[in-house]
Symmetry: C2
Subunit: 319 residues, 2 copies
């Protein structure tokens, strides 16, 4: 049995391999080849914490994966990271434990950011360079880094806005220090009107900006909404977009960004990302389309990144 | 972080402490003081296997527990045990991992058997000695052992019947070798009519015997039904019993022994075991009552036995 801690996992992580596997996992999910367990939520309201469990199995793979991820949001004040958890892999033929990856939430952060980058690459305009990132937390940082790493030939300019202006400043400085073009912006409304790509990474429960500001041709990747009541985008923007894409329709409509718009109008079409990635369904049709992708995070991503680490560990052993 | 394998767990296990904690866990559950996550089921039908995840938190305790348990029923033919899995405990104040108990299903087996013994003690007649055990698997064995250990002053006679007569013979021999009075029985119907206590431990999907055979004053503990479609007892016996008790009504009515009877007659009363154990509700009222308890297994038991092992490990460290 493989038992790895976070530094060992980070050491084994390979970006390109993981991108490849997560992309295929989205396709497998859309094609109905992923068995997904119900998402478990435990809430610890007195401690400002929660835990969720995602689980699943991609057909014809060697293992099923159970992911435990918690957020205790007062931890930083105690000098502890807010995220914790692990990925567990079990043999799909015998049930034996194959791997315990004590990643403390790192793999979830990475698969989330890689999902955002994959979706943005396939849906944004080919000439899109101006990326507005709303938020300055771990996902704001990783979405920028992963998008740039996935598309090294595109000269992205990252425009960062966050409610916490000093956090935005820190993120900008850090991105600059690692060779990315990044600036902070003070007027969110102006920045929205100039963006080719908008990535929202907050835990907001109401729209972050008004409808009518997003310009034609823009692509929006919404990462934040992952439970009932959360919403980052104006309902009308969602309802009138040229294309609504999600990682898994059942999750997005239940507890993702599309919950409000689609509850008001059940006829709104939502396409699963995997069908666009496989070419089964059409994505952007013109430079004028406004496209939106909502990513709630799916077990197939957890399985993909876990299996990538297991394979990397197996290779490093045999070398 | 505590990381224990099965031999270490068995070594730390203390019967009396665990009984005490599981009994209190039933009470906490009935009182609404346990937060229980939805049960996750993954099915691997090509491999004759399944996996389920139970999770929960008992209010005002230090940790929440996630239990992963799988059964791959062709494993024995490969020289492997059919059960696998682990119990995981996390801090309910920070989410940090406190313990990985790689018990391979052993703790689930024990908490299930202890639950059966606790329920049988509180519901069977005070003079009940003739125990019919239906089935000869791990639960048949453990139910007998735990019942005898819980009630050392009662001179139980175990009557064993199983579809597989040679397995029944092996169980009988093993129980005799460890000082228990046990015989095998060949006529199930006769044995039912003579039993003070019946414990059913099979994975049957249809009643194991006909209605009308159980005598007045008998207590029945049904262990086997743990998913939709499973049933061990005659529907009419359930419907006409003096008292129906379960570990958790929502589970029992959905996928436990009471699913069929209560679907036919929604007015049937079902009492949660914790209310009987706490004295809030009355159990057996006379030596003539036929009482039935259905145990589907609840997360509160998993939490209780996990916390008992963690505490024992902590004590053994400080000694």
């Amino acid at each position: 049995m493989l038992d790895l801690d976070k530094p060992q996992i980070i050491n084994l992580f390979e970006f390109d391999t993981t991108v490849h596997r997560i992309l295929n996992a989205y396709i497998a999910s859309a094609q109905g080849n992923v068995q997904t367990g119900d998402v478990v939520h435990l809430a610890f309201s007195d401690e400002n914490g929660d835990c969720h469990v995602k689980s699943g199995y991609i057909k014809d793979t060697a293992s099923y994966v159970i992911k435990i991820a918690s957020g205790f949001y007062d931890n930083p004040a105690k000098g502890l990271p807010s995220s914790n958890g692990m990925m567990l892999a079990f043999s799909a033929t015998t049930g034996e434990t194959l791997a315990i990856l004590r990643d403390e939430g790192w793999l979830t952060d990475m698969r989330t950011a890689i999902g955002g980058a994959i979706a943005t690459r396939v849906l944004a305009r080919a000439d899109a360079t101006e990326v507005l990132i709303i938020g300055a937390g771990i996902q704001a940082r990783l979405q920028a880094i992963c998008l740039a790493q996935l598309m090294p030939d595109r000269a992205f300019n990252f425009h960062i806005w966050a409610r916490n202006a000093s956090a935005a400043q820190v993120l900008k400085t850090d991105l600059n220090a690692t060779g990315h073009n990044a600036i902070t912006v003070s007027d969110l409304n102006v920045a929205i009107g100039q963006a080719d790509i908008i990535m929202t990474t907050t835990n907001s429960t109401k729209p972050l900006f008004a409808d009518g500001l997003v310009r034609k041709g823009c692509h929006v990747t919404a990462i934040g909404a992952d439970c009932p009541g959360k919403q980052e985008l104006p309902t009308k923007l969602v309802a009138t977009a040229s294309l609504r894409v999600c990682d898994m329709a059942s999750q997005s409509l239940n507890h993702g960004e599309f919950q409000t718009a689609c509850r008001s109008d059940a006829s709104l079409q939502v396409t699963e990302l995997g069908h666009i990635l496989s070419g089964k369904q059409i994505g952007r049709t013109s430079g004028q389309d406004i496209t939106i992708v909502d990513l709630t995070g799916i077990a197939a991503q957890d399985i993909a990144i876990t299996q990538a680490i297991i394979d990397a560990a197996s290779c490093s052993k045999t070398q």
